[in-house]
């Protein structure tokens, strides 16, 4: 069903130029770039087209009933195990992402760090890590810089070039967000410790840009959809342009079952269930999978055929492997005066002095630290978590503590590297199925010992910062026994020059299938320092640029 008056309705039995699977951070960019370049595009999206007016300050729905993320009750179970010797068990949102137009760019917190030059060549500069697939990228920061700048200006990013930032060809379009209480505490503590806190770049507008309004500081960013379109999701920024092009049909409620190939090995059509549950097949000259680091591998596995017995585009065996979550640490402090961290955006200052840890520490890693609200800064989450300072979890004392904790706490979060490992992966669960009868996504994950040591290192740094900030009390955590889920789904169809150890080439074309492309979190080779969406979007702009040029040369 066409979504907009300008939007065409393409017949399924005639090939469109491109089918784009997924409308998230990468899919939204891809749809906009291809359609405005004049190509006919059909976008298939599992979820509904929610827009600003649909979003509410509704914790109960979004955080406890799978409103955006979906889970077992919506017919989308997932399973998890720490290693391949365990039987995976059903769990909620292990591989977490939002099911709606714009994908997780709608409900994310909007932290938009660029990767730095070192992220693209760390394996050769620092040295490889034995037993891992840690490798250089086939592209450099310089290759991606024009596209980072495109993201800044077309998507809309607020920030200020910091002392640690890589060179940029153009300034940020919007100044940084006003500093919040947690970040004043972080900044003052950081300076006291000789560190260099600076304004955090965010995909949230600090002032009007591209016809969208500036942020009104309502505080419901992380986990929620923006009610005024100040958050720069692909839903708010790219999809409207794609629909206005007259070349893009957005089909919502559509779940892909497989991608079919012809005798020549080329992709011919994408098979899916439409919003009514009827099976359809859209013919296409080329297909771009932007379904995210868990769904893209699932589609490839489900598209197995005689020619592609281990799944489509999987001659390397790397599809689904090298899943990277990024590590995290979190510490919350109680302060004497009102912080009111529940207002405005998640983070306004970042410390990047620990971006690359000293190799002499004996482990690989690095990351950043930012100031945050505690437990998303929302009332229900905060109330459920009360007791972390050792107080009771119910009764008069609990009630008394609640009154101080909600307004007087600030959190410092660490965001860290994950190493790529073959043993951390997305596969098809042999026992559990979703409501369509597709095998459920099975996640196998155990953080590398270096990743856990990195988290431990960052946790200790945030303890120092809390002490310096003058917290009355503090408490915190990091997943010292390994993570059991995350919302960063990276590396599962990695880019590379060598077809035997990667799934896509440096132009995002799959090594095995000439008219099949992939662009999403799965394309990343290394994890970066914990804020991947900026890079996913920049890579999507670059991928689209190369796909358009190849199409115009008749090379698809």
């Amino acid at each position: 069903m066409a979504e907009s008056q300008n939007s065409p309705t393409y017949p399924t039995r005639e090939p469109v130029d491109f089918v784009v699977v997924g409308s998230g951070a990468a899919g939204g960019v891809m749809a906009k770039e291809l359609s405005t370049a004049g190509f006919s595009v059909v976008v298939l999206e599992q979820g509904p087209h929610l827009q600003a007016a649909d979003f509410k300050h509704d914790e109960w729905d979004y955080d406890y009933n799978g409103g955006l993320m979906w889970g077992i009750k919506q017919g989308h179970p997932q399973t998890f195990r720490k290693n391949e010797n365990e039987e995976a068990v059903e769990a909620e949102a292990v591989l977490g992402y939002a099911h709606n137009v714009g994908g997780s760019s709608v409900h994310f917190s909007g932290n938009f760090w660029r990767f730095r030059p070192i992220d693209f060549m760390e394996a050769s500069v620092r040295g490889t890590v034995p037993g891992t697939n840690f490798a250089d990228w086939p592209i450099s920061y310089e290759d991606l810089e024009p596209y980072y700048t495109k993201v800044d200006w077309e998507i809309g990013v607020s920030g200020l070039q910091g002392p640690w930032d890589p060179p940029r060809s153009r300034a940020y379009p919007c100044p940084p967000m006003p500093i919040k209480g947690p970040d004043v505490l972080l900044e003052r503590a950081g300076k006291q410790l000789g560190l260099n806190p600076y304004p955090a770049p965010v995909a949230i507008l600090s002032q009007p840009h591209n016809g969208r309004p500036g942020c009104i500081h309502c505080g419901f960013c992380n986990g929620f959809g923006c009610e005024v379109n100040a958050k720069s999701s692909s839903m708010a920024t790219m999809i409207p342009l794609a629909l206005a092009s007259g070349n893009c049909e957005l089909r919502t409620g559509c779940t892909v079952s497989r991608v079919n190939t012809g005798e020549d090995g080329r992709v011919t059509e994408v098979v899916y269930w439409d919003a009514e549950g009827t099976e359809q097949a859209q013919r296409a000259n080329a297909v771009v999978l932007c379904a995210n680091g868990s769904e893209t591998p699932r589609i490839l596995f489900l598209s197995e055929s005689e020619q592609h017995p281990d799944g489509l585009a999987n001659s390397s065996g790397f599809v689904g492997q090298n899943l990277m979550f990024n590590g995290y640490t979190s510490i919350v402090g109680l302060f004497p005066e009102p912080v009111n961290a529940y207002k405005s955006v998640p983070a306004t200052r970042v410390i990047h002095d620990y971006y690359e840890l000293d190799p002499n520490l004996g482990f690989y890693g690095g990351g950043g630290i930012d100031g945050r609200h505690y437990s998303r800064g929302t009332p229900l989450n905060s109330a459920l978590m009360s007791g972390m300072f050792g107080g009771p979890t119910w009764g008069a004392e609990y009630k008394k503590n609640l009154q101080q904790e909600f307004t007087h706490t600030a959190a410092f979060d660490g965001h860290t590297t994950s190493l790529p490992l073959a043993s951390n992966n997305v596969t098809l669960d042999p026992n559990v199925q979703d409501k369509y009868g597709r095998p459920a996504l099975r996640c196998t994950y155990m953080d590398h010992p270096d990743d856990i040591q990195t988290m431990s290192y960052f946790y200790d740094r945030t303890v120092e910062l809390m002490e310096a900030a003058g917290a009355i009390r503090y408490a915190g955590e990091y997943p010292e026994n390994g993570q059991e889920g995350n919302v960063h789904l990276l590396g599962t169809c990695r880019m590379g020059d060598d077809p035997s150890s990667s799934v896509i080439d440096k132009y995002h074309r799959t090594h095995d299938v000439p008219n099949l492309f992939i662009s999403d979190g799965s394309s990343l080779i290394t994890s970066g320092r914990g804020q991947p969406t900026m890079t996913i979007m920049a890579m999507a702009f670059r991928a689209a640029d190369n796909i358009i040029q190849a199409a115009r040369r008749g090379e698809i």
């Binding site: 509704d58 004043v184 005066e337 109330a383 007791g387």
Partner: protein, 193 residues
């Protein structure tokens, strides 16, 4: 480790308790339907859609110990029992059985310890004594989750009446704020970094 640092274990215990102690997982449309039905029922003078009168008295009494009424409204004044009623209207039989059997056990304790048949008839101190004994149970974890959720979720789900929960903790649900947001950023504006 300084004295101000609370053990990570305590933190993890509290964060884990948030959801893992509970067996609740629901879909929103079902709850909203329940809320609408409950509102209609209330207008017709019928109080509860899923709880019996006895259960309503008992869970209301437990909620009043979890978030007591003192100089500010507690779970009882916030109407948390109506939230619980709405949520349970569409919860699985499995979950409802956890609550029913847990309540039966609690009433048995009331009889054996204080020779009183119903929990809600006990003195507050007696109620606290019995609840302390079952603090780690799935029953208590589920009820505690429902009470806190009812206290702090949007009022349209049936609890948090007159935003009693939000007022308690100092949350003001505005759609727009302007800086400064709190003490420290105001101080930063006045004195700099």
């Amino acid at each position: 480790m300084s004295k101000t640092e609370i053990s990570r274990r305590a933190f993890l215990r509290s964060s884990g308790q948030a959801v893992k102690g509970s067996c609740i997982a629901l879909t929103l449309p079902m709850i909203l339907t329940a809320c609408n039905r409950a509102e209609e029922a209330r207008l017709r003078g019928e109080d509860f859609s899923s709880l019996t009168e006895e259960e309503a008295f008992e869970f209301d009494a437990i909620s009043a110990r979890i978030i007591p009424s003192d100089d500010s409204p507690g779970a009882r004044e916030a109407g948390v029992i109506y939230f619980i009623d709405n949520v349970l209207a569409n919860e699985s039989e499995e979950v409802r059985e956890v609550l029913r059997s847990g309540l039966r056990d609690l009433q048995s304790s009331a009889v054996s310890t204080f020779d009183v048949p119903y929990f809600y008839q006990l003195e507050e101190a007696q109620q606290d004594q019995l609840l302390l004994e079952i603090e780690e149970s799935e029953f208590f974890g589920t009820v505690r989750f429902l009470v806190v959720a009812g206290m702090f979720s949007l009022p349209e789900y049936g609890g948090n009446k007159d935003e009693a929960g939000w007022n308690l903790i100092g949350f003001d649900d505005r759609h727009a704020w302007v800086p400064p947001f709190g003490f420290y950023d105001a101080d930063h504006a006045a004195k700099g970094g």
